[in-house]
């Protein structure tokens, strides 16, 4: 740091980047009832699946930014600098509707990536009994998502492909179970085909099953219907969706042996960086923890305990 004689918070030799940067919308793609918004973000570090960013349209009438999971990342194209970061946005309230309408060239404040991610490394270090490590020939990773909860898992599948290429520890098989409310929500599916095909080409068993609540797209039912058919002893599971869905998924996990599960949970946030204490939710042991700092990814045990835990969360992302 420079001597403080005249420093009014500005410095010619900045020792680091600013926390909030202005990104630019480079692509907006409607996927049924959702929008995939791609923002060119300067100075972005590579995100891990489950991490989020606080984003807010420059000039928005909404006061606070909103938290969105990182959906995918692409390198900048020729003539651009930064990273192309995609977010999946579902209409929840005025702020999300505003972002969905943002056109190419719109400026967006971005703070991120933030929060605790899904952690394949921790998973692959864990023992699954009798000294055997997870990641062996029979090991499976189940991805379970509802609606816009699919967002973090596109990045996960892309990172998984990187792990296969790098011969890093990973599951022998990945199974993606996606549940949708209706067929417009299911339009997000298309984005998942390429990374699944890539995993398949790399020789990893990768499969996706979908189900739709109102029967307007394929099989009718809830994602937990799929899960109850697919879940086996010893599976690892990453889940993102509505709180009630996460609880139901955890309840199912408890009916099998040695299933480890992690959940990306949601709460209304103001700052996203641990300051305001606004996004707390109760854990199974009664502690209040911040979704932005201690989460958003929690293990099933810490979030829900040995059995389902009644947990009320304020509406996020309006």
């Amino acid at each position: 740091m420079r001597a403080d004689a005249d420093d009014r918070g500005r410095s010619d030799s900045d020792p680091g980047r600013d926390p909030a940067v202005v990104g630019r919308v480079v692509h907006s793609r409607t996927l049924g009832s959702m929008v995939e918004l791609t923002v060119l973000v300067p100075g972005w570090r590579a995100a891990r699946s489950g991490e989020f960013a606080m984003i807010r349209l420059v000039g928005s009438r909404r006061f606070l930014p909103r938290a969105f999971s990182v959906h995918s990342e692409r390198p900048a194209e020729a003539g651009e600098s930064g990273t192309r970061v995609a977010f999946l946005i579902s209409p929840v309230g005025p702020a999300t509707i505003e972002l969905m309408a943002a056109s190419k060239g719109s400026e967006v404040w971005v703070v991120g990536p933030l929060g605790r991610s899904f952690d394949i490394d921790a998973l692959s270090r864990s023992e699954i009994g009798a000294g055997e490590r997870w990641g062996g020939a029979g090991s499976r990773l189940l991805i379970v998502a509802g609606g816009v909860g699919a967002a973090p898992f596109l990045l996960l599948l892309e990172r998984l492909a990187d792990r296969v290429r790098a011969s890093a520890p990973r599951a022998a098989e990945v199974l993606v179970l996606l549940g949708f409310r209706d067929s417009p929500q299911a339009a997000v599916l298309d984005a998942f085909e390429p990374p699944l095909a890539a995993l398949d080409a790399l020789g990893m068993r990768a499969r996706m099953e979908t189900i739709c609540e109102d029967g307007s797209f394929g099989r009718e039912g809830l994602v937990t219907d799929l899960l109850s058919e697919e879940l086996s002893d010893g599976d690892a599971l990453f889940c993102c969706g509505a709180h009630a869905m996460c609880e139901a998924v955890w309840d199912l996990c408890r009916t099998r042996e040695a299933v480890r599960a992690w959940f990306s949970l949601e709460a209304g946030m103001a700052c996203g960086v641990g300051s305001c204490q606004g996004c707390v939710i109760p854990m199974a042991d009664g502690r209040l923890v911040r979704v932005c700092r201690e989460g958003p990814v929690f293990s099933g045990e810490e979030a829900f305990g040995e059995s389902g835990h009644p947990c009320v969360v304020g509406g996020g992302g309006s």
Binding site: M1, P15, G16, P19, C271, G274, S275, Q277, G278
Partner: protein, 334 residues
């Protein structure tokens, strides 16, 4: 960005014995420097590292600490409203003993003055908490006897205005006599800057301000949030777990400016003005109404380095208008 000439503008200001490099500090409870820095990353060149090396604020005001640990209010705790937000956080903290042991040492290592913030539920609570804080400061700074006394870099804000706890605090700040009694009790225990934070949820904030000044306050900070309420559209019940909450953000700026204006007209001691300041013009407005320091609150939720931008823009403003800080502070009263 700022021109070279604007960089020569003198933004320094004083709050009692504490000199500030520019007039922007954070509002207590809206910016947790260590948590934000860790969130943003502490690697070389990462935003968190920069925040710790070069905090955007001229002084750092940590969250309120109370005598006993507090869990805080049940969620939901926050809600965006038109041009602002409601919060019902309820002063969660680990209590003074953990604070002096774990927080104070690293706070004293920051390259900025500190304005610690204490809340309580009775005058006795404040007395015990402030005594422990002072003892810890004497101990933790005694290893550097040649350095300037800690009173030049550590001040104390008394939170007598939290709207989200059900006893003490705001009930003290709402009453001129109680406020004066608290200050008379704490004044002999605290050798440094002593600054009560006033609530706007009163009929006549100037009378509370006068009582605080007469009882020994060195400065005043105002305003805390306005008590408000929101209804959930589905349940038709209050949205927040704490039922009522404190309203902040641009929505309250004209109300806060009025409070600062009325208080500045009646006291001689310096004022830290706050309430919805988001852009540089808001900062200028508070200064003009008589604040010599402006606290940035929930604007930091959008951008943790808001104050860095605003201090630069304030220098630009003064330069472009050929004004000094002295010309602007209190201009509305002349």
């Amino acid at each position: 960005m700022s021109g070279r000439a604007a960089q020569n503008i003198d933004l320094t200001t004083r709050l009692g014995p504490i000199e500030l490099r520019h007039p922007l500090i954070n509002a207590s409870g809206t910016f947790d420097l260590f948590e934000v820095a860790e969130s943003l990353g502490l690697g070389e060149g990462e935003a968190g590292t920069r925040l710790l090396l070069d905090p955007p604020f001229a002084a750092y005001v940590p969250k309120t600490v109370t005598l006993a640990p507090r869990r805080g209010n049940e969620p939901p705790r926050i809600l965006e409203t038109e041009a602002g937000m409601l919060n019902s956080i309820g002063l969660p903290n680990n209590g003074i003993d953990v604070f002096v042991e774990r927080e104070l040492p690293r706070l004293l290592g920051l390259p900025r003055p500190l304005i610690l913030n204490v809340g309580g539920f009775s005058i006795q609570d404040y007395v015990v908490t402030v005594e422990r804080l002072r003892r810890a400061l004497d101990e933790q700074t005694s290893s550097r006897p040649t350095a300037a006394p800690w009173t030049e870099r550590v001040g104390l804000e008394l939170n007598v205005s939290c709207p989200n706890v059900h006893s003490g605090c705001m009930s003290i700040g709402a009453d001129p006599d109680e406020t004066a009694a608290l200050l008379r009790a704490v004044r002999p225990l605290w050798p440094g800057l002593l600054m009560p934070k006033l609530t706007p949820n009163v009929t006549d904030i100037a009378s509370v301000a006068r009582a605080a000044e007469a009882a020994g306050a060195d400065a005043l900070s105002l305003v805390n949030t306005f008590k408000g309420l929101a209804i959930d559209r589905v349940s038709l019940r209050p949205s927040l777990g704490g039922v009522t909450g404190g309203l902040s953000g641009p929505a309250i700026k004209p109300l806060a400016l009025r409070c600062v204006y009325e208080v500045a007209a009646t006291v001689e001691i310096p004022i830290v003005g706050m309430g919805g300041a988001t852009e540089v013009q808001d900062v200028v407005d508070f200064l003009a109404c008589g604040a010599s320091v402006v606290a940035i609150g929930c604007a930091t939720f959008r951008d943790p380095a808001t104050a860095r931008r605003l201090s630069g823009e304030l220098a630009d403003f003064l330069h472009s208008r050929s004004l000094s800080m002295g010309d602007v502070v209190g201009a509305a009263h002349r």
